[in-house]
Symmetry: D2
Subunit: 309 residues, 4 copies
């Protein structure tokens, strides 16, 4: 045979799991999108179509739902760890499991105070989806050690000033004027890798870690006087690593969502940034700034291209 | 000629306007997507291609940006009123203008307290997009009277209990079991029509009206013990009209976002709603419940099919 | 009660139905997305939550699948007629049914000729999705007469010349230069209404009607030397009505997909349309041209805003 | 500083370029979406915000449009090679350029024959977008050698029979019944790597290579009697490598687009696959089968996760 099989993986993608836990009348919600990807001794199914080593993707789906009941969903990370361990330890031909999870956040609806129904406070089990960023995690297990990469996507942020861009290379195709007061806006896609790899060590507090990491990311964005989006990227990554000892590596993919000052001179109007500036928010093309920030002494493991969860 | 021209309209759609107003170091942001649609004496451009009565769509775009500077953006509704009045009163062939606006909400980023730069508090001009619902408005003007229809889309809400569905018609194609404790979730698309139509009357406070209407909508959803999504729809509409004297009509389009209890019996697991229930969140198909609620004595004017802004 | 219920409708949306009919080894495929919407005597479910008149949306879904088996899918229109008649005639409280259908086209995969397996010609049951436009239909029935509105969306067309735009109104916000050779491109959304309304009359050949109507639409686009997109719109509508006696009304929603000549002068390059012109294909904003063309003596019935099927 | 910079890259993404070449009245169209990504000596811009080594992303955009005029667009691959070579050889701090291109195919509109205008045949410059798959290429250059990875996405294919799935592992979470006649459908995302790496060697004929590779992919899909989607994946990859000497590696990401036989027994209907079977086309979850096929003796270089072009 003049061809052979390289890396391969399979599983059920995008299992939408919602779990409602009741604490009396007060309900709690976990809303996940779980994708399973398995690899191992799978040559035969590719070469001959023999499924003798193949746990069906339908079974991986069933396992996701059954585990949500059996083990609960303490956090997306903890849930992914349960699942990955199960597939690798229960099926001999499976040598590696990767679980990717998206999590959607909900907040409680505030009640009218008056109370529509006697004695009831519906807000205890009524929710509105926050709709801001989507939380992400990816758990990989090979039977020996763990890799946990969490993150977020679609977090849109803007500084309406304190951003400049000048002093750049000018070649024959350069027409961009230098800017000393511009809008800096981006839709953050970030992934951060934990240094927890070993069952023998205590796990991080995944929920607190996420909240704190997002907070540091946002604050670094807001508090960096920016001479380039690259500088802001590095500050966001460094701020996270400085404050979160459990994280060794952060990668960002940051589209530069351009806001162009509209030329209003043809209409006799001045449109400078001093006050009341009007911008055109452009879709495409956009700058795309990507980079990794690492803790001293650590090696990069997050892939260069942040793929779709 | 065996054919003739019926209703027609034209303009520039989806002008993305961002306006930053500075109050010292504190900035304010308005982030709109504005679509202009004009109609009037436009037979010739269709029949012969003569553009003699056509104000170019490019000009309508320019007007949007120039007006954002000249008149500011007090609210989406007020901005649309400025634009609609301009097109109808300044161009004789234009008899009617319809302005549709989407508005995206931003909130300030909380600072780290420590203050990254001496004396600065970046949160004054740093924002994160809320990402929850999209606010909508549509302004129509024919030179005499106004119609203002505001609303929202993509507001996802869920009651994790206090919803039942039983006692329905059963025909030969009915297999659905009755439900006495189910999840009720929907992605609200709503439009409400104001009774302000006349320049001589004082306008409503558009910003306050939106905040209060959204609040009542959410509370009615949360506080209704639901026997059907139709009942919840009517309660949401009634609650708005009861509390907001400026609104005479509300229309909803409510996809019933089904959450099915997963059958875990094959795995020896009970999955009832008493506690820790696991649901499959389905995409398609979905129930779609649509309806209008009116103030007594008022006539419906919002179209049956809520079209895309 | 100070509020009352207006127009309302409900049903199951987006039922994805695929039917495979076998003619020996040769298979035929129908791939539909069917949405059901019913209305009638439904006050009580809104006012009190009583479902006594409510056929569940789940039942409407089951009916779609059962009818695909029982009646087959001769065409999207014929299938919708079967469904609409059933709901109105079998359920007393249901007075009106509207069925909307999207249809996706597939073509056969060409074989390698050599024949991979002895005696087999896999192309007989192997398909690739065409991916061009999406075909649409909407059937409405009130127990007495029919309204059939078919159409298409997402058909992207371009004339790379034979389009001009000049002689338009110029006001203080006009900066657009006149154009004597421009690209005209649009993403056609069209709906056409049939004059078949009565069971006693013979139905049109729905499949042939669609193929011919699309052909005339494309040819009119290609063969119109255009002075405005409005002119092209009218020509497309007229061409259809002239050639298709079964159609009385056509409505279009035509985004003007702008292709701007790039200014290459800063780089010492001429970029005129004579040959080798380079364009920037813009996303937003876009012109939006909408209009109805009618057969003489007919009244318009297609709504102004083409909503999502 | 306790952190340092890892891999980074930047450029302008999604430059939408349309080029019209005229051959008398016959026009030809190239419609591309070009993304530029550069890396090299870029530490300072991240650490201090100095842009001294940064060619602005706006300049990379200008270069794309200027090159479309100066060099033409013979093929997406050839165009990417021009661009990548330019950035690496003209800017000392830039050590590596990666150009990603999406290409959209258009076909000519057939004329009415009668000829709407005397002597004119509009089809010579009138086009309709094919809308099937999106063609992709990625060119990477480091100043010494080339890597060209082309491919496609969103090619939806279906075999309505000749697919089975049985003999798989059964664990306690397995409920799937074995299938001996099922629909096999997928939305192909594929990437193939060329063995052309050296300027001294003659380049492949990129246009012919694409057409032939797509043809072999489709035929292998159609002509494989499938016992698993993995088997089909391997056959598609092998067929390409067997027939196309210029390609050494193919990677696929194949969502298993499930079509479930609807259970119509509650309605007294048999729904087996013998004829007229009715399927529910499901959205999520879906199986996801990914794998690489290599020419003997070659090493894999396409990343495991096919990212978004």
């Amino acid at each position: 045979m003049p061809t052979f099989l390289g890396q391969n993986q399979y599983g059920k993608a995008e299992n939408r799991v919602v779990k409602i836990t009741r604490d009396g009348a007060t309900h709690h919600i976990k809303d996940l999108n779980v994708s399973v990807s398995l690899s191992g001794d799978m040559d035969e199914v590719h070469y001959s179509g023999s499924n003798a080593n193949v746990l069906p993707t339908d079974t991986t789906k069933n396992t996701v739902y059954a585990f949500a009941k059996e083990h609960g969903i303490e956090s997306a990370e903890q849930f992914g760890i349960h699942l990955a361990r199960h597939f690798v330890t229960s099926q001999e031909p499976i040598h590696r499991a990767r679980i990717r999870i998206e999590e959607y956040a909900w907040e409680r609806i505030e009640t009218s105070g008056a109370g529509a129904r006697a004695g009831a406070d519906e807000a205890k089990h009524s929710f509105v989806r926050q709709g801001q960023e989507t939380r992400l995690t990816q758990i990989t297990y090979d039977g020996e050690s763990w890799e946990v990469v969490s993150g977020l996507k679609d977090l849109v942020v803007m500084n309406s000033t304190d951003s400049e861009f000048w002093g750049y290379v000018k070649d024959k195709y350069t027409t961009l004027p230098e800017a000393y007061d511009r809008i800096l806006a981006t839709q953050v896609s970030a992934r951060w890798r934990f240094n927890w790899t070993d069952d023998a060590r205590e796990m991080p507090n995944w929920e607190e870690s996420y909240e704190q990491t997002k907070k540091h990311l946002l604050q670094a964005f807001a508090e960096t006087y920016s001479l380039s989006l690259q500088q802001t990227l590095f500050q966001m990554g460094s701020r996270i690593i400085d404050h979160r000892g459990e994280i060794d590596e952060v990668r960002f993919s940051l589209p530069n969502k351009h806001h162009f000052l509209v030329d209003l001179e043809p209409f006799g109007l001045k449109n400078d940034t001093a006050d009341g500036a009007v911008y055109f928010a452009a879709d495409r093309p956009y700058g795309l700034i990507e980079g990794t920030v690492l803790r001293d002494g650590c090696e990069a493991r997050i892939p260069v291209d942040l793929s779709n969860l």
